[in-house]
């Protein structure tokens, strides 16, 4: 086995190499550590070689003992939103610079228990607020925006931009992400990888630095649906003693529905009652706002899915546009409260000079938070304040309910919903950084599933303008991740898009 090509292997392939003892977990860890440490995309924020190699050695022991756990010895890196004992956790914010958590997030713990080896921590938008990974503040000496491995003049998407860039650049075969309004799906699309956000409540939020509690969900990002299924199986599971919003749904093997190639039309029997899979195409997702190159790649992908036996049916999600104002009320409202704990009293940054308590709070938070975070705290405080609560927050909650109802109506007519992840391919660094509204509008296709708490995923379906990846979004009904992953898997068995590597990656 040549060391040079290890990073092109999928998790499933790497695991087979470990099982056949062609390579050790320690060698794998070394290889990816080396690549990650040579990262030029500013995807990584922290390493801890000793901890990584200790995990690898422990994994190798389990391998030697014949342990056949599917993720044992495989490398992963974590978005810096997950708290970790072995690495600092900053959430991309100066206010948490040098913070060290005394415990691991449940997701981190579960993946470690599955035998995965943590390579390092990954950059993200500050407190996961952003869709370009430009809202970053750490390291404070030289905060560098993460670049897209397909074109370093472009953004990787966000807020899990570090995760997407690291996987696309083959620095790690898999990463964790978090998705509040599209933060797994959009960067996965922009970087040409596969990522899934499960049903709200599937993955424990314990140990995720909270942005918007009613929306935040963890999920895996990797290069194929098959790899994502393995990761998701380990990552999800009830956590009733630590997260009250964790669903009481047993751990599930999401790989179980992934069928081996069977005939030309695997999707002809993948729908309800063994009928053809019905794919809903919401007309609101394919309107004027959708760029022509994205539209073309999606049309081709839908045609491909039809060839695999699926039926494409038109559906409606009439309140799609409203998801933007609804999300940008609810998410900041929750964030304004969630971020109150960063006050300079107990942990994290505290201003050096201050005259009294109010001054300490003000200076600490002014210095510690970046401008997008401040903007959202202000929006959130405003919509919750006396006299505005009913008009904004309460109204937004009502429409949120209607958006969720719209999906249920749509699922009466289809098994899964397909559409774009974002209206365009990745834009240039700095293009929208001074225009928050333009950034918010680009979230339109990912927000509805977030607001409804539905599982959603992104998979690469070709290249658009300037040779940049286009992602397709699949949205399923509650707890149908296994089905979503199978649709994506069948597509990937018959198409090469997910195998494409960014130009500069050797």
């Amino acid at each position: 086995m040549s060391d040079q090509s290890l990073h092109h292997l999928s998790l499933v392939q790497l695991r087979a190499h470990l099982a056949s003892q062609q390579i050790s977990a320690t060698e794998v860890a070394h290889h990816f550590l080396q690549r990650a440490q040579a990262d030029t995309h500013h995807a990584f924020l922290a390493f801890h070689e000793e901890a990584t190699l200790a995990q690898a050695a422990a994994a190798q022991q389990r391998l030697d003992a014949g342990d056949s756990s599917p993720l044992l010895g495989l490398p992963i890196a974590h978005k810096d939103i997950f708290v970790t004992r072995d690495f600092p956790t900053t959430a991309g914010s100066r206010i948490l610079e040098n913070y060290r958590s005394p415990f691991d997030a449940t997701v981190v713990q579960r993946l470690a228990d599955a035998g995965m080896v943590t390579i390092g921590k990954l950059s993200c938008d500050e407190f996961a607020m952003g869709s370009a990974n430009e809202n970053i503040a750490v390291p404070s000496a030289k905060p560098e925006a993460v670049t897209n491995p397909w074109d370093v003049s472009r953004i990787p998407g966000g807020s899990s931009g570090g995760s997407a860039a690291a996987v696309a650049a083959r620095l790690v075969p898999a990463a964790t992400g978090t998705d509040t309004g599209g933060s797994i799906r959009q960067p996965a699309a922009f970087c040409g990888i596969t990522g899934i956000k499960p049903t709200y409540g599937r993955a424990s939020r314990y140990g995720m630095v909270a942005f918007a509690s009613s929306l935040d969900q963890a999920g895996p990002m990797a290069r194929s649906a098959e790899d994502c299924a393995l990761l998701l199986s380990a990552l999800c599971g009830p956590d009733p003693d630590r997260d009250s919003t964790s669903l009481n749904v047993a751990t599930e093997d999401f790989s179980r529905l992934l069928q081996a190639p069977q005939g030309d039309q695997p999707l002809a029997t993948a729908g309800k009652d063994g009928g053809a899979l019905k794919i809903g195409m919401p007309k609101e997702f394919f309107g004027d706002g959708l760029a022509a190159d994205v539209r073309a790649a999606l049309d081709a992908a839908l045609k491909q899915l039809e060839q695999l036996g699926a039926h494409v049916v038109p559906i409606q999600l009439p309140r799609t546009e409203l998801s933007i104002p609804v999300y940008y009320i609810i998410a900041p409202a929750e964030a304004s409260s969630n971020l109150s704990r960063f006050d300079g009293v107990k942990f994290g940054h505290r201003a050096k000079d201050f005259t009294d308590l109010a001054d300490m709070y003000q200076k600490t938070r002014s210095e510690g938070f970046g401008s997008e975070v401040k903007r959202r705290i202000m929006i959130g405080s405003y919509v919750l304040s006396h006299g505005y609560y009913d008009a904004y927050y309460l109204q937004a909650q009502k429409i949120r309910r209607m958006i969720a109802d719209d999906f249920q109506t749509a699922f009466e007519h289809c098994d899964v919903i397909a559409g774009p992840v974002a209206p365009t391919v990745a834009w240039k660094l700095g293009d929208k950084s001074n225009n928050p509204l333009a950034n918010y509008l680009a979230d339109i296709f990912t927000l509805p599933a977030s607001l409804a708490g539905l599982p959603g995923m992104s998979l690469p379906v070709g290249l658009g303008e300037a040779g940049l990846p286009v992602g397709m979004q699949l949205i399923g009904n509650y707890l149908t991740e296994a089905q979503l992953l199978n649709v994506a898997h069948q597509f990937q068995l018959h198409t090469p898009h997910h195998l494409k590597t960014p130009g500069g990656v050797a």
Partner: protein, 493 residues
């Protein structure tokens, strides 16, 4: 409407009481709630609001809320909501307090009690608005830190029930009677230890005054009244102050005030203008609290008989007046003393009279409680039987009772000594103070240990120890060591 007026003004009081619930662990974390630990030793990651931590509801706290609702005849909401009350303060780690705002777990209900009004004893009923679950904050310690403040988060996350009344009280006496009654109920059902010194039962009084028939006046809230005595003083002062202000032509400003026991005055902490906008909203970390009828039924089946129910039973089964029944159910110990006495003599009304009269009077004058009362229910019942069969008059019985109490106290002491002596004898533990017996043992030991005797006489003082040991042993440990020493020295001259 009560005719209690103070200088022509009617006093209007409403209460908010924070009862600390008697759970072992905190309301949303597993840290312990015990009082008095070293600062910050009972605060876990959740209590410190470390990034990534989330609240998980303590079922025991919910069950205590259900118990209170059952005790007060409230509606227990099948569906209630936790909200966040947002404000910044160093002892509030998350920057918000988790509380219930729009939909509390306990809704409505009432508290009834008796107060003296002039010559009469009047039954009053105070309506409850609600009782809701919430977490306590930590403590700020402003002394001893060289100009800085210390924060102790041991109390952060301690479960509280905030019990809110309608403005139904019309005097400080009613207010205190209400607070005492509520205190009795929460301690009776065991949801709160009722320790006011340690802050387990804290009352805030909303006080306003108005001319009879006028709309409600502007209220001022007296915070943290932690004794019944201060409660009365504070309200009386506040009422006088408000009336003076109004008489002088000043309007009352809505404010929060503190009572200073040293000066006996209240002073404003903050006015309405400083009132924060708490930006309440449902806590997205906690799903709605669902309480099934079955859960309520199970909690109810596990509860002890409530004072209210017990009092009703005393009225219906024993024919007691309501007032008596209420007084006798002031504590579980008193109620069971009554029940035992009444049962033994078959004269519940006489038993009630005696317990509320002579027994209570004797108890108030000493350190005696129903747990160590010298006159047993059986004795009291015997006395009552002799009144009932006209053997003695009531006043004669009082003399007998006095004697019983004193003699019982004396005889209890004598009884105790007798018991102890019997044990000492039975176990043969009495020290030998009889010199003759002891001298005999010493002589034997000296004869058997001539070597030590000679060494001692030669000037080796330590040789004495070699003699004391065998003597003590020979006496089976019953010799008095001081006496042994004295006798030895005398013999060794």
């Amino acid at each position: 409407m009560s005719a209690l007026l103070v200088h022509g003004y009617e006093v209007v009081i409403g209460f908010e009481t924070h009862a600390q619930l008697s759970t072992k662990s905190k309301i949303f974390s597993r840290a312990a709630t015990a009082f008095g630990a070293e600062p910050n030793t009972q605060a876990c990651a959740v209590d410190l609001a470390l990034p990534g931590t989330l609240p998980v509801m303590n079922k025991g706290a919910v069950e205590r809320a259900i118990q209170l609702g059952l005790a007060l005849g409230s509606h227990i909401a099948e569906h209630s909501i936790f909200a966040r009350k947002n404000y910044f303060y160093p002892d509030l780690p998350k920057g918000y307090q988790i509380s219930q705002f729009e939909i509390p777990v306990v809704q409505g209900g009432e508290v009834s009690f008796y107060v003296e009004e002039g010559q009469e004893t009047v039954r009053k009923t105070v309506r409850l608005v609600r009782a809701h679950l919430e977490e306590d904050a930590g403590k700020s310690l402003h002394e001893d830190f060289m100009g800085q403040s210390g924060i102790d988060l041991n109390r952060a996350g301690t479960p509280l029930l905030e019990i809110v009344t309608e403005p139904d009280m019309r005097s400080s006496a009613e207010a205190v009677a209400y607070a005492k009654e509520l205190h009795k109920i929460v301690t009776w059902i065991g949801i709160c230890d009722g320790n006011m010194q340690e802050g387990s039962f804290r009352c805030d009084a909303n006080v306003s005054v108005r001319k009879p028939g006028a709309p409600l006046g502007t209220r001022r809230e007296i915070k943290n009244l932690n004794s019944f005595k201060f409660m009365q003083q504070a309200i009386d002062y506040e009422v006088r102050w408000q009336i003076e202000q109004l008489e002088d032509g000043h309007a009352i400003q809505q404010a929060t005030v503190l009572f200073d026991p040293d000066t006996g005055e209240t002073r404003a902490m903050r006015t309405k203008e400083d009132a924060a906008d708490y930006r309440y909203f449902p806590d997205p970390d906690l799903p709605p609290l669902l309480i099934s009828r079955e859960w309520v039924a199970r909690v109810q089946s596990e509860m002890a008989e409530l004072p209210r129910v017990m009092a009703e039973r005393f009225v219906c089964d024993d024919g007691l007046p309501e007032y008596d029944a209420t007084q006798l159910t002031q504590s579980k110990a008193m109620a069971s003393y009554f029940e035992a006495t009444a049962k033994a003599c078959g004269q519940p009304k006489l038993a009630s009279n005696w317990i509320m009269g002579e027994v209570s009077r004797r108890m108030n004058s000493g350190e005696v409680t129903f747990d160590n009362i010298p006159v047993s229910p059986a004795l009291l019942a015997g006395l009552i039987t002799r009144i009932a069969d006209n053997t003695i008059s009531n006043s004669a019985a009082r003399q007998v009772f006095e004697a019983l109490w004193s003699e019982a106290t004396a005889s209890a002491e004598a009884q105790a000594l007798a018991t102890i002596d019997a044990l000492i004898d039975a176990k043969g533990l009495k020290q030998i103070n009889d010199t003759g017996e002891l001298e005999k043992i010493i002589d034997e030991v000296l004869a058997a240990n001539q070597k030590n005797v000679e060494e001692f006489k030669a000037g080796n003082a330590k040789a004495l120890n070699g003699l004391v040991g065998p003597i003590m042993k020979a006496s089976k440990g019953k010799a008095n060591p001081a006496q042994v020493n004295a006798l030895l020295l005398k013999k060794l001259g």
